[in-house]
């Protein structure tokens, strides 16, 4: 692998951090005084600030600093966590994302506005102690403010610090630390060269210096400690307040007024060190768990594994005919290994839907504030795994469906109470796997789909005739028509009439289906059935003439034998009666012009395409077959009856039938036959 660009690595990492912060914040909205969550958010902000500064995202670091400070106060219990604060930080966090993406853009005005908001959120609900603290000390801890002399008075601090020898290798730049201290106030820095070795023994990559700093500042001790927060657990740091102008006041000689902040500082340090340590540990653990791999490499590997499996099946065939026992045992071993390898490979592309669901918590939180509806989002089955492509492509449709549920489905709290429901509406997002499909449902307990409005709207736009009878399901399906919207007014959320048809198209492009159910006054439910993966298909392998074909198992309803009388009778009519309903059938042998004589016992595979059931007459049903889908080349794009191809165990290629197109092609051929007489 080439060396990754450190900036882009930081961006990815920062994006992850922001996600963690966001989910932490959202968790906080549920339990405002959860200390673990507060700490997690603080740590996230803190890491973001630090690494941002390290990679030159100064605006980001500066901005994040303020949020961090606010959370620091919450963490220390000076101010309570409030919904206002969480919201302020949430919107601030969006701004951080912008700062991350365009570090050089003009963000100053927005930054200032957001910070103003943030400070109001912190101070407006501040404790009595915080309120007593002067406004200038917004970033000051209240306890320090009480113990310390009046804010604004200059105090002199003596700081001595030395870094571990290898600190520079970890990205710590002592110059940055010194610069940060200079920003705090008037600073006198003296380097202590006592530990610098002889030139011969000197390793230029190590740090041998220690520094003595005399700092005059009106800022509290915690601000000084903040400078070192990233290196604190490895470095030696000694901060002491010089009593007045008395230079001889050694750190140990703590006079009474200086003692209080000192003691406090020690406590803080002890508490902070494990926190930072924990954050580091968490990061390390994380990097050990996940490896980022470009998707095309996975695809390449998938191809290789496919080749291996084919080569292996040829080996098995060879070994089967050979008498050599040793060869056979090796071949069996390889068969097992390559089978396992293929299974592992298939799983590699799978991701839990949790990554898809997690983004909805924010959406619901925002929508809840925007619409004034109380909403509870419940997610179920988050560990269900789906192909990554499916997750990527489902994100937008799901956003739309959730918005629809909230905007159209859920009622306002007063309406809900009037209807005898809990004031808080529920949106349930669930996923579960059945066979080769995953079913994702979005369910709300709102007012349900208003059939009359749907009908009125459909009539107005000419989709149905005024007196046309429609089954309930047909009526509901109308909302998937392009340009259909029942929202009386176009809102920010939905009702632009784009969407449901796009949702349906996306789901169908994923070879999935969409169902809708709704009870007036009780809520609606939209279910998406999506195949687990786009790369693998469960199919029924059949033989027509000399060729093998795969029929997607999801379309297959049942298989039966074509009786002789049905076969003979079918000159005039091509349908069989199946449990009192007529099912037309197509002879694939004729459709594919195989030119072979039919097998004595032909089979009918009954498939369903949407509402229709069609029988396909094949010569032999070989069995079910899980297979990797290969796309057809450009030269065969005009052949619509096949959606792809797959490679069988013996290395030969079988074509995968596109059931919908196949039926259409069959109709076309029959029309031609009829025309020819």
């Amino acid at each position: 692998m080439t060396n990754p660009d450190p900036i882009s690595v930081f961006r990815t990492e920062a994006a992850e951090l922001l996600e963690q912060i966001e989910s932490g914040l959202l968790d906080l909205t549920r339990s405002l005084d959860d200390r673990d969550r507060i700490d997690a958010v603080f740590r996230g902000l803190h890491t973001l600030k630090g690494s941002g500064a390290m990679f030159g995202f100064d605006a980001l670091a500066a901005f994040t600093h303020h949020c961090e400070t606010a959370f620091d106060r919450v963490r220390k219990g000076d101010v309570p966590a409030t919904h206002e604060l969480v919201s302020a930080v949430l919107s601030a966090q969006d701004h951080m994302r912008a700062l991350l993406e365009t570090p050089n853009g003009d963000h100053d005005a927005l930054s200032a506005a957001l910070l103003d908001n943030l400070h109001r959120a912190v101070d407006g609900k501040g404790s009595a102690a915080a309120a007593a603290a002067p406004v200038a000390g917004a970033s000051e801890t209240a306890a320090a403010a009480i113990a310390a002399p009046a804010a604004g008075a200059l105090r002199e601090w003596r700081i001595r610090f030395s870094l571990p020898a290898n600190a520079m290798a970890n990205g710590t730049n002592p110059l940055g630390l010194l610069d940060e201290m200079r920003e705090l106030g008037d600073c006198r820095i003296v380097a202590d060269t006592a530990r610098v070795p002889d030139l011969a023994a000197l390793d230029p990559r190590d740090i041998h210096l220690a520094w003595n700093v005399t700092l005059k500042t009106d800022r509290p001790r915690s601000d000084i400690e903040d400078v070192f927060i990233f290196v604190m657990d490895e470095m030696e740091l000694d901060i002491a307040e010089a009593a007045g102008e008395d230079a001889s006041a050694a750190p140990a000689a703590a006079s009474a007024p200086a003692g209080a902040p000192m003691a406090k500082a020690v406590v803080v340090t002890e508490r902070e060190a494990p926190a930072v340590q924990a954050a580091n540990d968490a990061r390390q653990a994380k990097s050990a768990e996940n490896v980022r791999v470009p998707a095309e490499r996975l695809d390449e590997m998938m191809d290789r594994v496919g080749e291996l499996v084919i080569a292996q099946s040829r080996l098995t065939q060879l070994a089967g005919t050979a008498a050599d026992l040793g060869l056979r045992s090796v071949s069996e071993e390889i068969e097992r290994l390559s089978g396992e390898l293929r299974d592992t490979m298939m799983v590699l592309r799978m991701m839990p839907v949790a990554s898809l669901f997690s983004r909805f918590r924010r959406l619901v939180h925002d929508l809840s504030r925007e619409t004034g509806k109380e909403i509870e989002l419940i997610t179920e089955g988050e560990t269900t795994e789906v192909d990554k492509t499916v997750i990527d492509r489902l994100a937008d449709p799901l956003v739309h469906l959730v918005r629809n549920s909230i905007d159209h489905g859920l009622e306002r709290p007063d309406e809900r109470i009037a209807a005898g429901k809990a004031a808080r509406g529920q949106v349930v997002l669930s996923a579960h796997q059945t066979g080769g499909e995953v079913i994702i449902t979005i369910k709300d307990d709102g007012r349900g789909i208003d059939r009359e409005r749907v009908r009125a709207k459909a009539e107005a736009s000419g989709l149905v005739q005024p007196d046309q009878a429609l089954a309930d399901q047909e009526l509901l399906q109308l909302i998937f028509q392009p340009g259909f919207s029942t929202a009386q007014a176009v809102t920010n959320l939905s009702g632009r009439g784009v969407g449901m048809d796009v949702v349906k198209k996306t789901v169908e492009a994923l070879r999935g289906t969409i169902d809708i159910a709704s009870r007036p006054g009780e809520g609606s439910q939209v279910s998406l059935r999506i195949p687990l993966t786009l790369a693998i298909i469960d199919g029924l392998l059949v033989r027509v003439g000399t060729g093998c074909y795969v029929i997607p198992l999801s379309a297959v309803e049942e298989c039966l034998e074509l009786s002789l009388e049905d076969d003979l009778r079918s000159r005039g009519r091509s349908f069989i009666s199946l449990r009192d309903s007529l099912v037309p059938f197509l002879r694939l042998r004729e459709l594919f012009r195989t030119g072979t004589t039919p097998d004595p016992h032909q089979k009918v595979v009954v498939i369903s395409t949407g509402a229709e059931r069609v029988g396909l007459v094949v010569d032999q049903i070989i069995g079910d077959h899980q297979t990797v889908i290969k796309s057809m080349s450009k030269l065969h794009h005009d052949v619509a009856t096949f959606s792809g191809a797959t490679i069988l165990g013996d290395g030969s290629v079988a074509l995968i039938l596109d059931v919908t197109h196949l039926v259409a092609a069959g109709q076309h051929q029959e029309a031609q036959l009829r025309a020819a007489g």
């Binding site: 080749e307 060729g547 290969k630 450009k634 030269l635 005009d638 052949v639 797959t646 490679i647």
Partner: protein
């Protein structure tokens, strides 16, 4: 393809150098050559899978190292008869840019000869009369020894579907 476009094609094939490295092969007794640079691999015959409903000259697919690629018979594009396979029959796998997308195509051949170098001075654009083959399918003819080697224009053969359909429907 227009006359002018063909000229350009003819010139690009013989880029700056006056020589062209090609792979020569036999189709129905005629010697053809394709640029060696587009050739991926020469294969023995593989099991083929017929694709019902496809165009006759790309009527089947083969499994080439785990990829499903079309197997083309350019004899049909040149109006030759498809002959039975012999012990010398081979498949040449080439990579072509079709609509800016690299596409692997297998070519059925009766015999593969050698990789050789052709001289530009010996080349001629296809004559406008005296050929039953569509002139735009031929890049140029190269004299060597007492015979002509045909350099077919693969892009024209594989990407001019609409044009071909139009000519197929016209009376002649």
């Amino acid at each position: 393809m227009s006359e002018a476009a063909r000229k350009i094609d003819h010139n690009t094939t013989w880029s700056e150098t006056d020589e062209l490295s090609v792979l020569t092969f036999n189709l129905n007794g005629e010697t053809f050559a394709i640029e060696a640079i587009v050739v991926q691999e020469i294969l023995d015959l593989l099991p083929e899978t017929h694709v019902p409903g496809s165009k006759p000259y790309v009527s089947s697919v083969i499994n080439f190292r785990g990829k499903v690629i079309p197997l083309a018979d350019i004899r049909l594009a040149f109006g030759m008869d498809a002959t039975d396979t012999t012990i010398d029959s081979r498949i040449i796998v080439i990579e072509l840019d079709l609509d800016d997308e690299p596409t692997l195509i297998g070519l059925r051949t009766d015999k593969v000869y050698e990789v050789t170098t052709l001289q530009k001075v010996a080349s001629e654009p296809p004559p406008s009369v005296g050929m039953r083959w569509r002139p735009d399918y031929i890049n140029c003819l190269v004299k060597r020894g007492g015979e002509f080697i045909i350099i077919p224009n693969m892009h024209a053969i594989f990407s001019s579907q609409k044009e071909r359909n139009a000519t197929a429907q016209s009376p002649n």
